[in-house]
Amino acid sequence: MSSINVQQTERWASALGGAALLVAAARRLADERPGQAAFLSAVGTGLMWRGGTGHSNFYAAAGINTAERGDDARTHLSGPRGIFVEQAVSIARSPNELYREWRHLERIPQFVPNVVSVRVLDDRRSHWTARGPGKARAEWIAEIINDIPNELIAWRTVGGADMVSAGSVHFASEPGNRGTVMSVKLQYDLPGGKATALFAKVFGSEPSQVLREGLRRFKQLMEAGEIPTTEGQPRGGR
């Protein structure tokens, strides 16, 4: 495995530290102490390698990943496990308007299909309930792990929730005052895939489509002030 799991500044520190050790090793060699020189050059080379590639075998073995900020779901599920979905939508509103609206978590059920309630517990935590067809129902507590006003909100589930998931939403302004590209990344899993099955029951078999509909409806609310519907209109008999 050679994926990047070392954070940027840590990579520079590794590379510089490795370089320093190699210089020290060269001195030891000049001082005719080859044993020490070999040890230092081995460690130095390793650090240089780590800095250069951004990959640490030790981190990989320990399940540690410092490369990603809190904005990527993968970090919080310790690797690229489970199901990962990503969707983006362009909305003719500024990033701060959209951020402000989205941050009112209790309004999310208005536009995300099947999420029936979000109860805010405190600054960071909220309790979510989702319902699917029949009796399918899921509850979880989500915690905000990164919150940069007008730019980013990231969260993950905590405790023994039905659903283990993590996600993030980014707000990036488009050039030419066209509004904002809002992108959502979402990952969910549970050992044994229980969450996946549950998620499928509650949200259907196409999670990216559910996410897409959620974003579309959010856009409709923000731009048009309402979500178009035909529910309740007259129809002829069969």
Binding site: Q220, E226, I227
Partner: protein
Amino acid sequence: MKALVWHGTDDVRVERVPDPALLNPRDAIVKVTTTAICGSDLHLLDGFIPTMKSGDILGHEFMGEVVDVGRDNRKLRVGDRVVVPFTIACGHCFFCERELWSCCDNSNPNAWMLEKLYGMSSSGLFGYSHMMGGYAGGQAQYVRVPFADVGPIKVPDSLTDEQVLFLSDIFPTGYMAAENCDIHEGDTIAVWGCGPVGQLAMASAKLLGAGRVIAIDSVPGRLDLARRQVDATVINFEQEDVLDRLKQLTGGRGPDACIDAVGLEAHGFTLDAYYDRVKTATYLATDRSNALRQAIHACRKGGVVSIPGVYGGVLDKFPLGAAFSKGLTFKMGQTHVMKYLAPLLARIERGEIDPSFVITHRLPIDEAAAAYRTFRDRKNECIKVVLKPHQPAVH
């Protein structure tokens, strides 16, 4: 209330259905005083449009009186007399702000269906299948109008229903087709298809300064109307070679712009399998795509091919080589109706045009089902049917 309801291929019925109610804050409810059957409604009758469901109320050309208004609608009041565009638009998205109303991002509740078919969704339409939004249509006594603070235009009492009704679709559609031709004084414009849209495209071309319009069809009644109304030079494609005749008339140069007001009617909204079925089953279908091929071949170098006719699927044997070689421009798409409402209403008020010249039949709604078949089967006498939803049946 009474409404014209689709139940399947060749099966439309007038029946009693519940009255519509306000569903969203910007809605209005309109009591329909006059409505019409559109040529594109015949594709529904013939079962060529997918995602129709038994029980759907049809109709996308209608007008009437506002009888109820949602709480966020600050434009309309109860009692207003309005014409309603067939396209539904939110008024605030990227596309609405650029007057590309029929491309609205926010008015189709079933946008995902069109996204699967075309990659992106356009605006919702009244009474025209679930992939177009599944909105109940206006061939009914009452209709719910979403985003009613954007589309409907108030019309003065000095004009009759029939004078303004076609602002809902076919007049702006014909006008946009002509406008897309980038007409210069004295231009020759050839129009394939002399149904109501073709007729209004020719009339609009004249309004925009065309020196001559050429009408191409095979139905004598329609060619006669074009000759009478817009002084068109007519070509009956069953009796004459269209390309030869156009070269004769223009000294070999070809028309400055060609309008395809036929469309792939019988092919409408094809998916691949569907397309194959139609392609192999109907001779008419090949005949009809001929209109566009002919238009491309006939058009002068550097000219415009304008397409108000509806296309839905994949086109076969498209002569792109000829189009490229001659440097043609193509313009097409659903009409951005809202863009044309005020200027075209003004033209009607000034007496420059009376679009009601296309009407041949006036019927109470109870006779709507029969009217669909008349419209489809008797093209010579029947060009445009208008319906009166509140007029009692005549027996």
